[in-house]
């Protein structure tokens, strides 16, 4: 009984929503980071949940524990000492495309975007602006960006390893 209601609700919701607003999402977006001076320090997270809407909203959410390092010990140090992932399990971004008018979600092509929003990590929220691209192919967007994070801004002291990391984002939406 309950399931019928849920089904009907969700089907209707999505059908009607398609007319009003386009939302694209993924559960296996990719975000990786690396230390600029130490090539051993890099990790990738292939389980990023992200959504983009043609109203300009973009969201990213990931579990910090899902960052995979080459070395198990390095991963443990990242989780235990630097990112403190049992205390702060998630990183999260909510932003808006600033130049929404220059993106046409209905038309294939590459669009440069600037996204401004709140990045929350290690329990600290910062307002950031990130430049990237949205590449629409076959009606499906691919978002990509590269930017730097100063770890101290987020209360992470990893100075014995690196002070900042370069973050790479690549999300293919459905």
């Amino acid at each position: 009984m309950k399931s019928v209601v849920v089904w009907v609700l969700s089907i209707v919701f999505f059908v009607t929503q398609a007319d009003a607003q386009k939302v694209f999402g993924t559960r296996n977006g990719k975000i990786s980071f690396s230390a600029p001076d130490d090539e051993d320090v890099k990790a990738v997270n292939n389980e990023v949940t992200s959504r983009i809407s043609d109203n300009g909203q973009m969201t990213f959410s990931l579990l910090m524990k899902s960052f995979l390092f080459k070395m198990a010990e390095m991963q443990e140090h990242f989780n235990d000492q630097y990112a403190e992932t049992s205390k702060y399990p998630r990183a999260d971004f909510k932003g808006n495309i600033q130049n929404l008018s220059s993106v046409n979600f209905a038309k294939d092509g590459a669009y440069k975007i600037s996204v401004k929003g709140d990045l929350t990590m290690h329990g600290i929220t910062k307002n950031v602006t990130v430049n990237g691209t949205v590449n629409i192919r076959g009606g499906k967007p691919l978002a990509a960006a590269q930017f730097s994070i100063v770890l101290k801004d987020f209360g992470i002291n990893a100075s014995s390893v690196t002070d900042k990391v370069t973050v790479d984002v690549s999300c293919q939406y459905q």
Partner: protein
Amino acid sequence: MQHAFKSVLAIVCLVLSSHIAFSQEVDLFKMQDSANAAQSATRKEPVINTFYSTRLVNSHTVEITGKGSMDFRINHRFAPVNTGLYNMFGLDAASMRMGFDFGIANNLMVGIGRSTFFKELDGFVKYRVVHQQEGAAPVSVALLASLAYRTLDMDPTLKVTGSDRTFFTGQVLIGSKLNSHTSLQISPTYTHYNRVLFYSGGSQDLFSIGFLGRQRISKRISLTAEYFLQTNRFNGTYDPLSVGVDINTGGHVFQLHFTNSTGMNEHTFIHETTGSWGNGDIRWGFNISRIFHIGRKKKGDWAKS
């Protein structure tokens, strides 16, 4: 009847929800918040870093060297501090064990080592059977089997055979990270001597129980303590007690401690500790652990952009 009710309900829902959908756009920010909340409620992870390292001072912990990693360990114990200033309080002499540990699967490690104490070689296998996980397992349990072989030249009249030089230790390691600062472990231990040389009393089969604790005092520094209670022992030996500090610097773990043991493999530190804390017969010592990655990169789990 019930079927009819369902249909009516479905239509009602349809009408209602289409109204909602048309009148109000989806807010991705709210969507993300509710999805995150739902995920947080279900997500469970195994507990990491119950201890900083696979050893606390001399004893094994429930930790396992990461798969594909090699841990090069140097353990060093100076001479007893009660030998006075002439010996620089023990710094003039040292006993050491050098070893290589390998993480060969997620919960399995092996290691080999060579100690100066009685010129012993040792090797062990450690397997973690249970990994502590919130809501699933309150403790981690690991099994350890270790063999030591004494290569020291001995009086030929003793007619010491290869089997006489071999010692076996089996341990059940039961550890729990109680909170982010405190971890405890209990280790029931069995040791077998094929032949008892140089000691009297005790028995060929020795039982003991180890108590290990660590208290984290900052992100990188922990205080540690380790004690083994022997149920039967050789004459002139004491229960080993060690207290120390672990300093974790990233790739290295430095462990500094005071201990009354000289040996650093299982049977020597548990059953052949001749120093007594009461007499100040204790040694300053340190362990250094340096981890190297030796496993091959796997495709997929470590993609390049």
